[in-house]
Symmetry: C2
Subunit: 141 residues, 2 copies
DNA sequence: TTGCGTGCAAAGGTTTTGCATGGCA
DNA sequence: TGCCATGCAAAACCTTTGCACGCAA
């Protein structure tokens, strides 16, 4: 997790502010572009991609990939996201494609187990959990 | 999980045979193309993609996405892969990019918990677990 | 004979990159 | 002033799609 970057520009501030206000919501790079374009304040897509990447490196943003064919998702977490407290994670339904946000402490046990037995420091927030959602199990849409 | 498809062609057999011999190894669509091209038996990439998709639907193949920018990975599992027995799953190191194969029964408990508490039928095989691998934690490369 | 499988080429979409310009420190 | 950030356009990349032809049943 890198330090804060060298330069603070107008755009980097704008993007960060925008994302802070979207805590718990996941958006894509093009969502960010669209948002600023709608505001009449166009930001180049390369800039958006570069800023998002930077924020991910800084640990402010969580990045995860739902599908290889859908764009990467970003979510603001702030710097305190890697505590052992309650975390929000993402379940992707393989059937309907829905992405579900869950709060669950149970995951901590898996994390501890992975660390103790497999020496792997699981990052539950970054991980996307695949499976079948309730609606698709019961047959309701 | 769909039934065996209607037609068995030479290519579909070849691809399946090839994948059977790679149990436990993960490969990409272009790996498959390359393999057959090296054998002097070129198979169109569309065919490879379509066959792989079919095998995933049939439950013979497991598909998972490491990164949004790297190609999708496939792994032969056979039809018996969805039992509650020991499963093989994948951990991706966020630092060095390594993908680690793990065998772990502990994951079953998370699966049970997700089902009981969150009504989500977790598919541990499809899921890619993000984190930091042992070598990167200790600083060895 | 019917209709699925195949191959080629082209399109689609996301993300990265090269390069000249602009802005922060 | 020096270096980083930006924007545009183009490239790279993986994957899907359209269409005509071939092949399995």
């Amino acid at each position: 997790m890198a330090e804060r970057s060298k330069y603070n520009t107008k755009h980097s501030d704008r993007i960060l502010k925008y994302l802070e206000g979207l805590s718990g919501v996941h958006i894509t790079a093009s969502d960010v572009c669209d948002h600023f374009r709608d505001q009449g304040e166009t930001i180049g897509q390369s800039t958006v991609y570069r800023q998002l990447e930077r924020l991910v490196d800084e640990g402010v943003l969580n990045k995860y990939n739902i599908d290889s064919n859908s764009p990467a998702c970003f979510e603001y977490t702030g710097h305190g996201s890697h505590s052992d407290g309650e975390v929000c994670f993402h379940c992707k339904c393989e059937k309907c494609g829905r992405v579900i946000h869950l709060h669950c402490d149970e995951i901590k046990e898996l994390k501890d187990h992975m660390m103790a037995e497999h020496h792997f420091m699981l990052d539950p927030v970054r991980t996307v959990y695949y499976g079948i959602c309730e609606e698709c199990i019961t047959g309701n849409t």
